[in-house]
Amino acid sequence: MIQRVLVLSAAGAALGMMQGAALAAPPDWSKVPAKTITVFYPGVSPLEWVTTGTEHGGARGMKKGETCASCHDGELDDMGKKMVTGQKIEPNPQKGKAPSIPVQVQAANDGANLYLRFSWKQPPGAGGAKMDPDNPVKLAFMLEDNKVELANLGGCWSACHADSRTMPNAKDDKRTKYVKGGSLASGKFYDLVQWRAKGKPVDGHVAEQRVMEGGKALVSAEGRNDGGTWTVVFTRKLAGGDGDVALVPGKTYNFGFAIHDDHAAGRYHHVSLGYTLGIDAKADITAAKQ
């Protein structure tokens, strides 16, 4: 009898210790509402372009606190067409590449983990050179805790700069995404998580520079292609360590994501505008407790 109690106690203690990671179980996605968010081909539109009124008329709206989505979320495919064909702000047109991709986004939490599910139809490939030969597809999302300037209006754009690699004016091949004046200490950073068709997922961050490691929050990132429809599910602890945005129920966070479709690399991705993710809070996407 005593032996049985000891075994049960040990089993209980072990279960308790494993709480979070090992017990994480995605919700029944058929019961979680989906929001369609279109990612589009952004051409060469770094933060410097977006915030310059002589180039981008919407800079005036941004100065007044308008989000990118408030003007553009209904015309993303048209915008993508103009840029992918080189009609506007793209010196290197991407013939055959999809102008935009509509993505179903679902989110939920269970008090310990955030679950994010992305689902989209694989668009036809352009058949060009494979910039990333290993990965036909990658999907990354970024979270931000309302400290990075303009992240509340433009999502990931505050990390996208004219001198980043693959941009026409890039001078340093190692310069990737960064936040001006960003640092982990000040909290001015993006939490960056990426799923890759091949290879390990990434749990990093973007502050003074992009760091593709060090995050402690990501539990798993799994993706599959069922008959041309990709589905990627992330499980991420609400809490986290350095470089992770600690998610608190009742709060909203700035959120954006990107798909590197058709072996794309660097800036040749499809991106979402900036949205909000709420943990048990009203937002563009709400991760409600299941």
Binding site: G53, T54, G57, A59, R60, G61, K64, E66, C71, D73
Partner: protein, 207 residues
Amino acid sequence: MPSVEAGPNGKKKGALGGLWALLRKPSARYSLATLLAAGFAIGIVFWGGFNTVVEETNRLEFCISCHEMRDNVYKEYTKTIHWSNRTGVRALCSDCHVPRDWVHKMARKVQATNELYGKVMGTISTPEKFEARRLVLARSEWKRMKASDSRECRNCHSFDGMNVEAQKQRARKQHELALRDKMTCIDCHKGIAHTKPKGMTEEDEEG
């Protein structure tokens, strides 16, 4: 022909003085009605002639009769929506750059005589000279439009007549902001009929 005669102080009057004396002298030959009728008729001819000449200077053909306009701003304008559009309504140079009402039109025409000086001096006689001056010229026109609350734009466009529901999302949003903040057309619509000048600053953009 007025004769030269001695004045009261003994000095001889000139031809101009003689003409003035003739004009001041009451007519003994023509009735007042005749004089009035003749004056009226001549007035109509002069007025009509004057306005015809003024309106002639408002025609597109007049504007592009100088290569400075024809080779630069006109070429750019023919690629814009004010030249060619779905409904076939065309705004000519003068529709945007010359006030319609007489007082402001005359003031603008008098001011425009400065341009004759520029023409003679060749201020913008080559594409290079034009590009070098483009920002100065554009700033001058933006300032004029801003000062008149975009009066010439409003000859055709108005917030009242605008159906924002029929506009694209971003146009709708911008117009809502413009109405809220009491902005004027040229605050945003710079460079819609001509290329934006190089060197244009954010201050220029924000008007």
